[in-house]
Subunit: 118 residues, 2 copies
């Protein structure tokens, strides 16, 4: 079925989309940036860049790093990170629900293979 | 103010987003692919690729080319192209309206300059 992907674009130009939401969920669920990246098949460097871009977009940290300890520390979403993720997923679900009938009609006209994805 | 950008992603992987919507509006308003691209500051080749990807996504043409005539012919949206554009813009406006309060809260935490845009 067709889907709706949403991007929040702040006045500064910073974007929050599906890739960042999935990464935040991975960190929430694994307690570690590297474990989240691994679970998503995402380059660690890319995960780090996505988080860096989130951290420079807001006046409040999105992820809290915990140094040291057995296993070399970890990471968790900050309260603001959890709020950001919740708002993103809520907007996405509501937008998808309101678009459902339109998406169904468009899918009826869709060809199975779409050629180049641009 | 923050904005919501939406992409329709069909089961085939084909995407309809803001770039294609703006191009379709340009063709509707100018009656010509090259005039639309020029008005948008878009490469003609890119405009052509976007339209090609739309045409291979659906079983119905999105743009109708008119050959010949004074000025070398032109282009117009097909009835399906107008419908696609209308549905996209309606989904976008409704999603933006439902996200408004969330976007306002997030914008209150936003820094003016967001660093690298990824």
């Amino acid at each position: 079925m067709a889907e709706l992907h949403v991007n929040i674009v702040l006045a500064s130009g910073a974007r929050i989309g599906r890739g960042k939401a999935v990464l935040l969920e991975g960190i929430r669920d694994t307690g570690s940036i590297s474990a989240a990246a691994r679970a998503l098949g995402m380059d660690y460097k890319r995960a780090w860049l996505l988080l860096d871009s989130l951290d420079s977009a807001f006046d409040t940290p999105v992820v809290e790093r915990k140094a040291g300890g057995v296993g070399g520390g970890g990471a968790a979403l900050s309260p603001f990170g959890l709020e950001l993720l919740g708002r993103y997923r809520r907007i996405e679900a509501a937008a998808m629900a309101l678009a459902e009938a339109d998406l169904e009609v468009l899918e009826q006209h869709a060809l199975p293979s779409a050629g180049p994805k641009i």
